[in-house]
């Protein structure tokens, strides 16, 4: 059965040219291909200047690429820009809105831009104020809000049209951990309850790991890897590390012959074993130690996380 794609990007290229007399070119995206199924939470990760925001900006019709095909929600972006803009929305970190409008007015303004009529608009704005705990700030001007509240407003604004596709550009950047956690919860709830397709960029790997079902790594304008966080770890052979302190004589060669062992470092009384997946390999390692009559004093597991994957891809 064909999968309905929320985003389909083929051969996308974007080059920025600067300077009047001596023109300088910078390739922001080079032959990017990406297919995001509907209803999935995708993470777009990569170092600064990798092309994440450029890709999001193209998808939200704020940038026009030189080459490539972009289909959003099944439609060609070039031919159906207005229709697509009606069904998607975007929120970015370091949000900026009209400084003199208060929270409610900003939401009303954007709801009007998306064509929401009178009562429906009021209801939508009220719902969003409640959803993001913005009720108490409803009459506070944007330039008087804290960074966290501005960010909540940005997210609330991105939902005024109940989008089928939501593009989030570093939604928790610059926020304190508590506010960031609440923003993450709100995003997760939205995805879970409404099934909204989300494409999010972030530099927070824990955030990506906890929210995203699929990850795309982008570097130098190219998608370097795609997949679930676990698959990416496997692909990179990052694995997990098991630290064991023991007493007895350990045969390194025998231990290394076990299945799924990527590497082994031993000393007189401890070893560091790199395995593909500690859930699968720990029982056989313990069996090995018991079989060899080696007494284990201490055992510690360190799972590789998305940060390791990020570092591996960006080096």
């Amino acid at each position: 059965m064909a999968v309905n794609l929320a985003i389909e990007v083929k051969g996308l290229r974007k080059t920025f040219v600067s300077g009047w007399l001596r023109k300088r070119k910078k390739d922001a995206l080079r032959d990017v291909n990406l297919s995001v199924p509907q209803g999935v939470f995708w993470g777009l990760l990569g170092p600064n200047g990798a092309g994440k925001t450029t890709l999001l900006s193209i998808l939200s019709n704020l940038l026009i690429p030189e080459e490539g095909e972009v289909r959003v929600l099944g439609k060609d972006l070039r031919k159906n820009a207005m229709e697509i803009c009606n069904r998607i929305n975007v929120s970015s970190g370091h949000a900026n809105f009209l400084w003199s409008l208060n929270v409610r007015e900003n939401l009303e303004y954007y709801a009007m831009l998306y064509g929401l009529p009178g009562k429906k608009r009021q209801q939508r704005v009220d719902d969003l104020l409640d959803l993001f705990d913005l009720r108490e700030f409803a009459r506070v001007r944007f330039d008087e809000l804290s960074t966290g509240t501005k960010q909540k407003l940005s997210l609330a604004k991105s939902l005024v049209n109940d989008p089928a596709l939501l593009l989030l550009d570093e939604p928790t950047v610059g926020l304190d951990p508590d506010v960031a956690r609440r923003i993450r919860e709100a995003i997760q709830r939205l995805h879970r309850d409404k099934g909204t397709t989300i494409l999010m960029t972030t530099h927070n790997m824990k955030e990506a790991e906890s929210l995203c079902e699929q990850i795309a790594f982008i570097k130098d304008g190219r998608i370097k890897a795609l997949g679930k966080p676990q698959d990416l770890k496997r692909e990179l052979r990052l694995g997990d590390t098991i630290f064991i302190s023991f007493s007895g004589s350990l045969s390194s060669r025998s231990l290394q012959e076990l299945q799924g062992i990527y590497g082994l470092q031993t000393s007189d009384s401890s070893c560091r074993i790199l395995v593909d997946d500690h859930h699968q390999r720990l029982p056989q390692i313990l069996d090995f130690f018991i079989g060899e009559k080696i007494f284990i004093h201490d055992l510690r597991i360190q799972e590789s996380d998305l940060e390791d994957v990020f570092i591996a891809f960006t080096r």
Binding site: S60, N61, V90, S100, M112
Partner: protein
């Protein structure tokens, strides 16, 4: 039928968004109040008092007061059209506006409505002040000529405002200076304080391609000044409407260019 009604409602809501934005920004910012009351009154009073000091004939006084009142109304009205984009530029919120499914027509009509309210307010205040302070009756030509004149002024203002938006979309926020300087240039060229006949021939060519020249000529004829050009009202309207249509296409092109070059995103940084 239902579809077209829904479409009309959609168009009106999106247009209203720009009315809403400009109106609230106007209400909440002191500088916009200065634009309506302070600067127009200062210009009007200083020019009006000069006409008194120079002991000008009533028709000469009318010539100059028509110019200064028209100019003030055009300036304030065009600022609102420019502000439709400039408020977003100053707020660094341009990308949010253009990520929404709105067209240039919504921006133009919505901001023009507020511009007409603000420019109209300036016009009425100065009209009353000119009667009370200098004994000049602006209503002498009658309702229809005055209506046609004022409409011409507001369309001219829209033309200038859209031109400012185009410049900002092409050159970035450094072009915002055009919002205040373009009208001053028109002041020089369109015969606001003097007839265009006093201009050097090559400058007059420039005056001839600006619709405001014709609208001023049209209204002044009711105060005894024979127009230098023929069919001034028709020429003024044909020109201003043609310019507006061209500008809408140019603004679309400028917007596409800004999306290609990345300027639209830079305006949000």
């Amino acid at each position: 039928m239902k579809m077209s009604l829904l479409r009309l409602q959609d168009e009106m809501t999106k247009t209203r968004a720009f009315v809403f934005k400009n109106w609230i920004m106007t209400k909440r910012n002191v500088f916009t109040l200065f634009e309506i009351l302070f600067w127009p009154l200062v210009a009007f009073l200083s020019v009006g008092l000069l006409t008194e000091f120079a002991a000008l004939q009533p028709e000469m006084k009318a010539f100059i007061l028509i110019g200064v009142i028209a100019m003030s109304a055009v300036q304030v009205c065009q600022l609102d059209v420019s502000y439709a984009l400039l408020y977003d530029v100053w707020s660094k919120a341009v990308k949010h506006g253009f990520a929404a499914p709105v067209g240039i027509r919504h921006l133009l009509f919505g901001s023009l409505i507020v511009g007409i309210i603000r420019g109209g307010t300036v016009f009425v205040i100065l009209m009353v002040a000119s009667y009370l302070l200098f004994g000049f009756d602006f209503t002498l030509p009658g309702a229809l000529p005055m209506g046609l004149f004022v409409l011409g002024l507001f369309l001219s203002a829209a033309m200038v405002g859209v031109f400012v938006c185009i410049l900002v979309l092409v050159f970035g926020n450094r072009a915002e200076v055009a919002a205040w300087s373009l009208v001053s240039l028109m002041l020089l060229l369109c015969g606001v304080y003097y007839p265009v006949s006093v201009l050097p021939a090559w400058v007059r060519v420039l005056a001839e391609i600006i619709p405001l020249t014709y609208f001023l000529e049209y209204f002044r004829q009711f105060y005894g000044f024979q127009p230098i050009f023929s069919h001034v009202l028709v020429k003024g309207y044909v020109m201003v409407i043609a310019y507006l249509v061209i500008e809408v296409f140019l603004m679309k092109a400028a917007l596409l260019r800004a999306k290609r070059t990345g300027l639209l995103l830079k305006l949000s940084e």
